[in-house]
C-alpha cells in the first residue's frame, strides 16, 4: 500500500476501527463441500439488485411517469441519449436475471434445507424479497406504457380482481380506478421507485445481517462431523474474491445480452385498440398464467380461475412457511418428501412455462 493509502487507512481506522471489522471478516469461514457453488447465487442476486438500483436511478433522469410522456421519454432515451439504450437494456435484462438468480438461490436453500433452525428468519426475509421482486417486475413491466405491457397489466390486474372479497378492491387500488389508465401508470411508477425499493432495502439489510451473524449454513449432518474433518475457506478474502469473479462473469453475460438482444420498446399503448395477439406476462408468471388458462371455467360450484388463484396462494404460503412444518429437517434428519416436493415444483414450473411460451 502506498504511503498515502496507509495514511488514509489509518485516518479512517482511527475513527471507525476498521481493524475490528477486518478481524471479524478474517475469522469468518465458509463451508466447502460439493454444494458450495450454490452459495454464490445469493451474491449474484445481490449484485444484480445493485445493478438494478444504479441503472434505475440513471433511467429516472429521463423517464416521465405519465400516460402522455412515458413511452416518448423511453423512446427518447433509447434513440437520443448516449448509452441510454444500454442502460435500459441492462436494467431490463438484469431484472430478469435477478429473478432467475433469486429462484436458483431459493431452490438451492430449499434443497439444502438451509431454512431449518436457526435460519427461519433468513428464509422468510428472502421469500419476502422474492415476492417484492415479483412486484418490481409486474410494476416495471407497465412503465414503458407500450401495447403489450398495457394489455398484460390489464389481464394481470383482472386476474387479481377475481379473488373473493378482497379481489375487486385490490384491483381498483392497483389500477387507481376501474380500468388501466394513466392513474395506474402513476401508482405503478410510485410502487416501483419508492415503495418497493424502501421495503426491499429493509429486508435486504435484515437478510444480510442474519447471514453475517449466523454464517453460511452447512449441509444436513455436517454439523456433527469433527471440526478437523470440515473443509472451510476464509470469507475474506477467498470467498469474497470468488464472489467478485462470479459478478464479473454475470456482468459479461449481461453486456452480451444487452447488446445482442436489446430490449424492444414496441408500440405505444392505445386503450381503444384491440388487444394484440400473444399477450403474456413476464416469464416468471407464465406457469401460473398457463395453469389458469387450462383450468375449466367452472369446477363443481367454484369458478375455475378463483380456485386456481386460491391454490397458488395456498401453495405460496405453505412454501414460505416450510421452516415451520418441515419437522424432520429441523431435527437434522434427511427429509426426502421435501426434496420430492422441490423437484415437483421445478418440473411443474418448467413444463408450464414452456407450454406458456409455446401456446
Amino acid at each position: 500500500m502506498s504511503t498515502l493509502g496507509k495514511k488514509l487507512y489509518r485516518w479512517v481506522d482511527d475513527r471507525v476501527h476498521l481493524g475490528d471489522l477486518i478481524e471479524f471478516m478474517g475469522k469468518k469461514y465458509v463451508p466447502v463441500h460439493r454444494g458450495s457453488i450454490w452459495y454464490y447465487f445469493g451474491g449474484v442476486t445481490l449484485f444484480l439488485f445493485l445493478i438494478q438500483v444504479i441503472t434505475g436511478i440513471l433511467l429516472l433522469l429521463y423517464y416521465k411517469g405519465s400516460e402522455d410522456l412515458a413511452f416518448e421519454s423511453i423512446q427518447f432515451l433509447m434513440s437520443k441519449v448516449s448509452f441510454g439504450w444500454l442502460i435500459r437494456s441492462v436494467h431490463s435484462w438484469s431484472a430478469n436475471l435477478f429473478i432467475l438468480a433469486a429462484f436458483i438461490h431459493m431452490f438451492s436453500v430449499f434443497f439444502e434445507k438451509s431454512y431449518r433452525p436457526p435460519r427461519e428468519m433468513t428464509w422468510l426475509s428472502g421469500m419476502f424479497m422474492l415476492f417484492l421482486g415479483f412486484g418490481f417486475g409486474f410494476s416495471g413491466y407497465l412503465l414503458p406504457w407500450n401495447e403489450l405491457a398495457f394489455f398484460a397489466t390489464k389481464v394481470g390486474t383482472d386476474i387479481a380482481g377475481v379473488i373473493p372479497l378482497v379481489g375487486k378492491p385490490m384491483m381498483i387500488f392497483l389500477r387507481g380506478g376501474e380500468d388501466v389508465t394513466g392513474a395506474t401508470l402513476s401508482r405503478f411508477f410510485g410502487f416501483h421507485v419508492a415503495v418497493l425499493p424502501g421495503l426491499f432495502t429493509v429486508l435486504l439489510g435484515i437478510h444480510l445481517l442474519l447471514v453475517q451473524r449466523q454464517g453460511m449454513s452447512e449441509p444436513l449432518g455436517a454439523e456433527d462431523s469433527p471440526a478437523a474433518d470440515k473443509k472451510t475457506m476464509p470469507f475474506f478474502p477467498n470467498f469474497l474474491l470468488r464472489d467478485l469473479l462470479f459478478w464479473l462473469i454475470v456482468l459479461n453475460v449481461l453486456a452480451i445480452l444487452a447488446v445482442f438482444f436489446p430490449w424492444e420498446l414496441g408500440q405505444k399503448a392505445d386503450a381503444f385498440a384491440p388487444a394484440p395477439a400473444g399477450i403474456r406476462p413476464e416469464w416468471y408468471f407464465l406457469f401460473m398464467f398457463q395453469t389458469l388458462k387450462y383450468l375449466p371455467a367452472q369446477l363443481w360450484i367454484v369458478d375455475g380461475e378463483v380456485l386456481g388463484i386460491l391454490l397458488f396462494a395456498l401453495a405460496g404460503i405453505l412454501w414460505t412457511l416450510v421452516p415451520f412444518w418441515d419437522r424432520k429437517s429441523a431435527k437434522g434428519q434427511q427429509s426426502r418428501i421435501i426434496t420430492y416436493v422441490g423437484i415437483g415444483a421445478i418440473v411443474y414450473i418448467l413444463v408450464f412455462t414452456i407450454l406458456g411460451w409455446l401456446f
Partner: protein, 495 residues
C-alpha cells in the same frame, strides 16, 4: 238507358267467348251505368272469362241483387288495402289456376311485393304501401306488353311518378328521397328515347325491378353501388340489344378491370365510382367534353382545381380535348403511375410534346419526371435503411414515423403534376427530399451506432474477461500461499 243497354249487348256479343255463362253482375251494373262495369270489358281478365265475382265474390248467376251480393255466398264488396292484393293472389299466386287460364305470368309476384320496399306498412299502419292495383290499375287491366298498360315501358315512368313525384307523399315515408327523378329522366338519353316510344330504353323497372323493388341501400338491390355495373351491363354489354344504337358494348369489361372497377367490385369499396357516379343515374348521359373534369372533379377535387388553373385548360379547350380523359382514359382507367409523366414513349405527355412541338412542355415534363423519380428513389433508400436499422434492433421510431411524410410528399407531388407548374412541383418534391435525407441520416447514424455497440461490446467483454482471469489467477496464487503458510505453521507446531 236503352242505348246503353244496346251498347253493352253489342260489346258483350263481340268480346265474350261463346261458352261464357251470363254474368248477372255485369248485366245489372252496366245497366246502372257505373264506371267499373263500363271499363271492365276492356280488361284482360274479362277477356279470359273472369267474372266480377272473381275479385268481388258473390253469385254472378243470380239476377236478384239480394242473392247475388249475399255475403254468406262469399260477396266481399270492394276490397280495400291488403285485401286487394290478396284477391289478385287467389289466382296469381296459384300456379294450377294460372295454367287453367293458359297464362305464363309468374306466380311469385305477391311474395316479391311483400318483401319489397313497397311491401312495408303504410303510414296508416294497417296495410302495405302498394297493392297490385297501385301500378296495374283496376277494371281495365291490360297485359304488361300492351302499350295501354300503365306498366308498359313508355307509361311506367309516369305510373311510378304518381307517387315518387309527390313530395308530400314521399316525405311521409322517406324525407331524404328525391322527387325529381322523372324530370331528370326526361333529360337523360334513356328518357328522351323512351318519350319517343322506344320500349327498349331503360325505364324505372329496368334498373329497379318491378315487384321485388328494394331500397337502394339494400345490398341485394340491383341499384346498390356494387350491383349497378352489372345492372347497366345487362343492356350495355349486349351487342345484339345495343346494335341499333351504335354505341360500344365493352364499357363493363373495361370498367371491371379499371382502378375504379377493381376498388368497387373486388374490394367492395363503396366510395369507388360505379357507372352512375360519372353518368348520373336518372339523368344518365355521357359527360360532354367540357364537363369531364367536373365529373372527375367530384371526387378528385384538388386535381381538377389544379388542372383548371393550369395552362393546359386553355389548350385542351381550344382543341376540344376531354380534360382528364385525354391522359387517363375513361372506362379503362388504370392506376396512375409515375410512368404517365415524362417524355418516354409510355408517358402521356409525349403524345403532344416533343422537342419540335411544344418544346417547353417537353422540358418541364422531363424535369418533373426526373424529380419524382429522385423522390421515389430517396424514399426507397430511406425505407430500406430504416428497415435495416430496425432489423438490427435499433430504436428508430421517429425516423420510421417520418417515412410517412416522404410518402405524403410523393402523393402530393403526384397531385401537383396537374398544375403543370415546374416551380410548385419542385417545392413539393424538395420537401419530400429534405425529409428523406433526414430519415436516411438518422438510419445511417443508427447503423453506425450498431457497429459501435458491437465494437464496444467486444472491448468491454475483453476487459471483463481479462479481469476475471486475473482475479482467478490471483485467487489461486493466494490460496497456494495460504496452503504453504498453513503447512509451515503445522510443521512448526509438530516440531
Amino acid at each position: 238507358m236503352l242505348a246503353r243497354l244496346l251498347t253493352f249487348l253489342a260489346v258483350t256479343l263481340v268480346t265474350v267467348p261463346a261458352a261464357r255463362a251470363a254474368d248477372e253482375c255485369l248485366v245489372c251494373h252496366s245497366a246502372l251505368g257505373d264506371t267499373p262495369s263500363t271499363m271492365y270489358p276492356g280488361d284482360i281478365h274479362y277477356r279470359k272469362g273472369i267474372s266480377c265475382s272473381g275479385c268481388h265474390g258473390g253469385n254472378p248467376e243470380s239476377s236478384d241483387p239480394e242473392r247475388a251480393m249475399d255475403t254468406t255466398a262469399g260477396f266481399i264488396g270492394v276490397p280495400r288495402g291488403n285485401a286487394i292484393s290478396t284477391a289478385c293472389a287467389r289466382c296469381h299466386s296459384n300456379a294450377a289456376q294460372m295454367k287453367r287460364w293458359n297464362s305464363s305470368v309468374p306466380t311469385g309476384q305477391l311474395e316479391q311485393l311483400q318483401a319489397s320496399v313497397h311491401g312495408k306498412l303504410s303510414i296508416e299502419g294497417r296495410d302495405r304501401i302498394a297493392q297490385c292495383t297501385s301500378c296495374h290499375g283496376v277494371h281495365q287491366i291490360t297485359a304488361v306488353g300492351s302499350p295501354k298498360s300503365p306498366v308498359y315501358p313508355s307509361n311506367v315512368v309516369t305510373t311510378c311518378a304518381r307517387c315518387h313525384n309527390n313530395a308530400v307523399y314521399i316525405r311521409s315515408y322517406n324525407p331524404s328521397l328525391p322527387v325529381d327523378q322523372l324530370e331528370k329522366y326526361r333529360t337523360s338519353v334513356h328518357g328522351i328515347r323512351n318519350a319517343k316510344g322506344d320500349p327498349k330504353t331503360a325505364e324505372c323497372a329496368s334498373c329497379h325491378g318491378s315487384h321485388g323493388i328494394l331500397s337502394a341501400k339494400d345490398v341485394k338491390s340491383s341499384v346498390y353501388p356494387t350491383n349497378i355495373p352489372s345492372t347497366c351491363e345487362r343492356c350495355h354489354a349486349d351487342p345484339g340489344y345495343m346494335k341499333e344504337y351504335g354505341i360500344a358494348t365493352d364499357q363493363y369489361a373495361k370498367y371491371a378491370k379499371s382502378v375504379h372497377g377493381v376498388a368497387l367490385l373486388q374490394k367492395n369499396d363503396l366510395g369507388a365510382p360505379a357507372c352512375n357516379s360519372c353518368h348520373g343515374n336518372h339523368g344518365a348521359a355521357p359527360p360532354g367534353v367540357e364537363s369531364v373534369s367536373k365529373v372527375c372533379g367530384t371526387c378528385h377535387a384538388l386535381n381538377a382545381d389544379l388542372f383548371s388553373a393550369s395552362p393546359h385548360k386553355k389548350a385542351f379547350d381550344e382543341r376540344h380535348l376531354p380534360e382528364c380523359e385525354t391522359c387517363h382514359g375513361n372506362h379503362a382507367i388504370i392506376v396512375a403511375t409515375d410512368k404517365l409523366l415524362g417524355v418516354s414513349p409510355e408517358a402521356v405527355c409525349s403524345r403532344c410534346h416533343s422537342t419540335a412541338d411544344f418544346p417547353r412542355g417537353y422540358r418541364v415534363a422531363a424535369t418533373m419526371r426526373a424529380l419524382i423519380d429522385s423522390l421515389e428513389t430517396s424514399e426507397a433508400i430511406a425505407d430500406s435503411l430504416v428497415e435495416n436499422a430496425e432489423q438490427k434492433g435499433m430504436e428508430i421510431g421517429e425516423a420510421k414515423y417520418k417515412l410517412r411524410e416522404i410518402r405524403q410528399a410523393r402523393l402530393e407531388s403526384r397531385t401537383m403534376v396537374h398544375s403543370f407548374n415546374e416551380e410548385k412541383f419542385d417545392a413539393v418534391v424538395t420537401k419530400g427530399l429534405t425529409v428523406a435525407a433526414w430519415v436516411g441520416g438518422e438510419a445511417r447514424n443508427a447503423l453506425a451506432e450498431y457497429v459501435f455497440r458491437r465494437i464496444g461490446l467486444g472491448v468491454s467483454t475483453l476487459i471483463i474477461t481479462v479481469l476475471a482471469v486475473a482475479l482467478w489467477l490471483f485467487i489461486r496464487r493466494l490460496e497456494r500461499k495460504q496452503v504453504r503458510e498453513e503447512t509451515v505453521t503445522n510443521n512448526s507446531s509438530i516440531s
